[in-house]
Structure formats: structure tokens, C-alpha cells
């Protein structure tokens, strides 16, 4: 049975709670020498915690990566948008029937210049999770993305997408409005772009729902994010009829950022703050911002045709086979 995030993180949480208690005791302690002793103990505990974090995050197993990538403390698209851009103005709607709140997007400024930015948005609390459909985007979300890509192309604005979804909405309603077509059309539009595009996989890069907005000139991935053709539980359930063997499937699927880079399926890994992006969202956003700026800088002076051809060539080469 694969560990849950809570089980896995429990030792660290216990440690951190102890540190907090010690700090509190130190604060209340009147005797200066006792206070110093308690504070010293707290510092020692902190060192241990820091070391623990360092060790545990340096060698996360694939399944632990899954747990971290899905952690609900992790920064979401909205956090990266605020951290990377100024003057974000959300634009809504697919001009067909709805506005899907599982994909957030609009115009923003990066270094004073206009960009189109969009991404899957999970919710922070129960109400928002409902509204955001837990990051499972509906056809309307991909069609909103497609519309924003069209705006980018029309006004020669670079595109930045953030990927963070367990997968596209697979429900009856989504099927009835063509979730498959919506994903495919969004990808096709991304390949038509003559402006540079950057995608950052910030958490869960879940199958078709992820690739639907990740066909970019440069695809970057956070150190502890995952990118997978299928959720490991689903894979285990199909292969071994054992959804609880997610850890085995996670290993077999090679769904880590590091594997994706090794196979040449992403263009770079963005280092996370020590202990994961959620321990320092501002530092994480700063790294992401720098990575986006540097990725876009690589396209300066290139023609639209070159930009498009380069993107095509990159994806065209993906796949390993014998002949």
C-alpha cells in the first residue's frame, strides 16, 4: 500500500511541532539561563529538521514526488501568476457556452511587455475546489485557452502556460461537449503559433489534460513536479488490478521531472526552494520568473516561421523506436 502524503510527511510535521512548542516554552520562560537552554535546543531541532528536509527531498522516490506534486500546500497557477507578472487581467470565456474556472488566463505584463498567460487552477479551500473542479478542466477551459492563443498570435504576444492538473474532466457533461476535441484543438493551435511559448509544469502534469496546454517552444518543469501519461493509481489498476500499487506504477512510469528531462521530453528543470516550492512560494515564483524570461530571451530576433518550425521539430523528434 503506497504511503499517503500525510503519512510520509508526519515525521517532519512532528519535528516542526516540537520546534514550535520549544519556541513557545522559551518565550514564556522567565529564567534567562533556562530560556537560552530551550532556545539552543530549538536551534538544534531546527538543524535536524533542515537536514531531514534536505535528505528527504534530495532522494524523493517517484511516489513521494507524486505526493509532493499533489500536495495542497503547493503554490498553484494563481500564485505563480502573481509572482511572475505584473498587472494580470483575467479574461473569461470560450465564446461558446461557458467560462471554465479550472483554467485561468488573461493578459499580463512581463518586464513591461504584454504576454498571454494561462494555466490550470486548483482550489485552495473546499468552495474554491468545487468552483475550480479540482483542476480538472472542461472542454470550455481548453477552448478558452485556444481563444487566448489566438489573441496571442494576432497581437504577437508570447505565451506562458502553467500546467497543474490531475487530468481533463472525464465526466458525461465534458464528453457531451467534446473534451477530446477541445484538447486536440488546443494543441493544434499551439503548434500554429508564430510567437514563442513557454510551459511550466508546476505540480501535476496529468495526461491529456496537461499536454492540451503544454505544446510549447520551451517546456520547463519544477524539480518535484510530475508529468505522466496516466495517473499511477490508474496505471496500477489497469496493469495489476491494484490501485494501491500506485508507488510501483509511479516508478515504472518514470513520471519525475528528472526522467522527463533524461528522455528529452522537457527542456529544463527549475530548482525548487529547499523542502519544496510550498516552503517558499516567493522564492519559487522568482525562479520560475527567471526561467521564463530566460526561455523567452532565446527567441529574440527569430522570425515567426523559425519559432514555429523549431517547436515543430522539437515535438516531431519525440519518441524512441527501432527501425
Amino acid at each position: 500500500m503506497a504511503k499517503s502524503y500525510k503519512e510520509w510527511e508526519q515525521p517532519l510535521i512532528d519535528l516542526e511541532e516540537n520546534i514550535a512548542k520549544l519556541r513557545e516554552r522559551a518565550r514564556r520562560e522567565i529564567d534567562p539561563s533556562k530560556r537560552i537552554a530551550i532556545e539552543n535546543l530549538a536551534v538544534e531541532y531546527e538543524t535536524r529538521a533542515n537536514h531531514y528536509i534536505e535528505v528527504m527531498y534530495a532522494r524523493l522516490s517517484p511516489w513521494e514526488k507524486v505526493l509532493v506534486a499533489r500536495a495542497d500546500k503547493r503554490p498553484y497557477t494563481q500564485d505563480y501568476i502573481s509572482g511572475c507578472f505584473s498587472d494580470f487581467l483575467p479574461l473569461a470565456g470560450d465564446r461558446r457556452c461557458a467560462d471554465d474556472q479550472a483554467i485561468l488566463g488573461g493578459v499580463a505584463k512581463l518586464n513591461g511587455k504584454g504576454v498571454i498567460v494561462l494555466g490550470h487552477q486548483k482550489g485552495r479551500n473546499i468552495q474554491e475546489r468545487q468552483v475550480r473542479n479540482f483542476g480538472y478542466a472542461r472542454p470550455e477551459g481548453y477552448r478558452k485557452a485556444t481563444r487566448l492563443f489566438e489573441i496571442a498570435e494576432r497581437f504577437k504576444m508570447p505565451v506562458v502556460t502553467f500546467v497543474d492538473t490531475p487530468g481533463a474532466d472525464a465526466g458525461v457533461e465534458a464528453e457531451s461537449r467534446g473534451i477530446s476535441e477541445a484538447i486536440a484543438a488546443s494543441m493544434l493551435k499551439m503548434f500554429e503559433l508564430t510567437v514563442p511559448s513557454v510551459s511550466v509544469i508546476i505540480g501535476e502534469g496529468g495526461s491529456g489534460g496537461a499536454i492540451g496546454i503544454a505544446c510549447s517552444s520551451k517546456v520547463l518543469i519544477l524539480e518535484h513536479a510530475i508529468y505522466s501519461v496516466i495517473a499511477p493509481e490508474g496505471c496500477a489498476s489497469i496493469l495489476w488490478r491494484a490501485a494501491d500499487r500506485g508507488a510501483d506504477a509511479a516508478k515504472a512510469l518514470r513520471l519525475t521531472a528528472q526522467s522527463a528531462l533524461e528522455f528529452g521530453l522537457v527542456d529544463g528543470i527549475i530548482d525548487e526552494p529547499k523542502g519544496g516550492a510550498h516552503r517558499d512560494p516567493i522564492e519559487a515564483a522568482t525562479s520560475v520568473r527567471e526561467a521564463i524570461i530566460s526561455a523567452l530571451a532565446g527567441f529574440e530576433g527569430k522570425s515567426g516561421a523559425e519559432i514555429k518550425a523549431e517547436r515543430y521539430a522539437k515535438f516531431r523528434a519525440m519518441g524512441i523506436f527501432g527501425e
Binding site: S176, I179, I230, L255
Partner: protein, 264 residues
């Protein structure tokens, strides 16, 4: 489908459970004369029954998977599928003719690991669409797949992107790209190159959907219609152009090729 060895004179239709004469069934292109169910065909049979006799020229026939992830049991299953089907992978491609007109084709074989799309199937679709664009001829792709091949991990997800990218090549070249959805056309295949064809035809009652019915039911709160994820449902919901009976398919494809390929 067969309850008895294929050499038998009778078989049972798994659509309506009726016992059929194998001869009648074969002559009816494996469409049940009783319930109209279009039974699955191997890729080679489909090619034989759709395109001008002897016109198929196979290409890229040596492509095969190298098990890039060393995925558990993949090599073994792959070998078994090869032995069972005498094919190298789930997709066959090349050129063929329709009433004398050359077309680039790719045809999926569901009997090879559920027609799943790994790097080989993706590459063959991509080459077919590029070939159509380069030769200035229409592309016709027959889909029959459960989706991406998870044993190739993220590499197989990327086939969705790669194949879709090559659709753009056909559009730029102004060559029509026609997809035919056969039973089943699902998931990663449906959500990539299949759904952005210029014209989409489907065989009657072919299953066409994003996720398995079980997953869709779990995900949704709405009630599931009787014809959910059938080709007919796809037509009603605007995703498919036409249901075409197997025996009419050559004529319909020819008409499309003649009308849409005539402007150049």
C-alpha cells in the same frame, strides 16, 4: 469475438448473440446481417476492403518498440502481440489508391495491444500526415485504439502532441485529412490527431470517447444516456460528420477525396 475456432462454419455475433453462417458474415464484410454490428477488422483486412485492389504499398514497416522505459512485462506482452498478429506494432501505414487516386494511409489494428499508441504508432501517423503534405495527396487514417500506450510512459503522451503537430502540416499543404473512427476510438488517440481531422467518419455503433465508461460515470453527476460514447452520440453532439456503413465507405471516401482534393 469467436466462441469457436475460426475455421468453423458458424459463429455467434457478440452484438445480438445470434448464430451466423460464417460465409454470409464474411461476405457482408463482417457486419452482422441481423443486428448491423460492425465487427472489428485487422488493419490489413480493412485496407484490402477499402482501397483499390493491390494498391497498398506498405512503408515504415520495420518500426518497432525498443521498450525505452524497461517497463514491467512490456517486452513480453509486445512479443506476444507480435506473434498473435504477425504485425510489428499496432499501426500500418503507406500509400494506397481510391478509384485510382493516390492517398497516404495509416490504419490501426486493435488486436495489437488494444491499438495503443506508443512511439511507433505515433511516428507512423506523423509520417503519414507528413507524407500526404509532401506528396500533395489526401491523408486517410483509420482509428482503433484504447488510447496511449502507458508502457512507454511520457513518451507515449508526447505522441499526442507529435501527431497533432503533423495535422498542421496537412493544413498548410492544403491536403484533406480524413479520419475514420472504428470500434473503439478512445482517450489519447481521440484527444489528439483523430479529433482534428477535416472530416470525421465513423462506423455504426463504434465506441468513441475520452475515458472509459466507468471513469466517466465516476467523474460525472449527470445521468448517462443509453448511446453514451457511441459513434451516433458523437454525431448528435457535433463531433463526427457521418456514420458510414462499411460497404459504403470506399464510395464516401472517394467522393470526399474528389471534392476536397479538386481545388488545387
Amino acid at each position: 469475438m469467436q466462441k469457436k475456432p475460426p475455421t468453423d462454419a458458424f459463429l455467434q455475433c457478440d452484438g445480438c448473440k445470434k448464430t451466423l453462417f460464417r460465409n454470409d458474415f464474411e461476405q457482408n464484410l463482417r457486419v452482422c446481417p441481423n443486428c448491423g454490428k460492425h465487427h472489428r477488422l485487422s488493419a490489413r483486412t480493412r485496407i484490402e476492403w477499402t482501397f483499390d485492389e493491390g494498391s497498398f504499398v506498405e512503408m515504415d514497416e520495420n518500426l518497432h518498440s525498443v521498450d525505452p522505459l524497461a517497463f514491467p512485462d512490456y517486452a513480453e506482452k509486445y512479443g506476444q502481440a507480435q506473434a498473435k498478429t504477425s504485425e510489428k506494432d499496432s499501426m500500418i501505414c503507406g500509400t494506397a489508391k481510391l478509384q485510382g487516386k493516390t492517398v497516404a494511409i495509416a490504419v490501426s489494428d486493435f488486436s495489437f495491444m488494444g491499438g495503443s499508441m506508443g512511439a511507433v504508432a505515433g511516428e507512423k501517423v506523423a509520417r503519414t500526415l507528413e507524407r500526404a503534405a509532401e506528396m500533395g495527396v489526401p491523408a486517410i487514417v483509420f482509428c482503433a485504439s484504447g488510447g496511449a500506450r502507458m508502457q512507454e510512459g511520457l513518451l507515449s503522451l508526447m505522441q499526442m502532441a507529435k501527431t497533432t503537430a503533423t495535422v498542421e502540416r496537412c493544413r498548410e499543404a492544403g491536403v484533406p485529412y480524413i479520419a475514420v473512427f472504428t470500434d473503439p476510438t478512445m482517450a489519447g488517440v481521440l484527444a489528439s490527431y483523430a479529433s482534428v481531422a477535416d472530416v470525421i467518419l465513423a462506423e455504426p455503433k463504434a465506441m468513441v470517447g475520452f475515458a472509459g465508461l466507468r471513469v466517466s460515470k465516476q467523474a460525472g453527476v449527470g445521468k448517462v444516456p443509453d448511446d453514451f460514447q457511441m459513434a451516433e452520440y458523437g454525431v448528435a453532439h457535433g463531433m463526427i460528420d457521418r456514420i458510414v456503413h462499411r460497404k459504403e465507405l470506399p464510395a464516401v471516401l472517394t467522393l470526399l477525396v474528389e471534392t476536397m482534393g479538386a481545388g488545387k
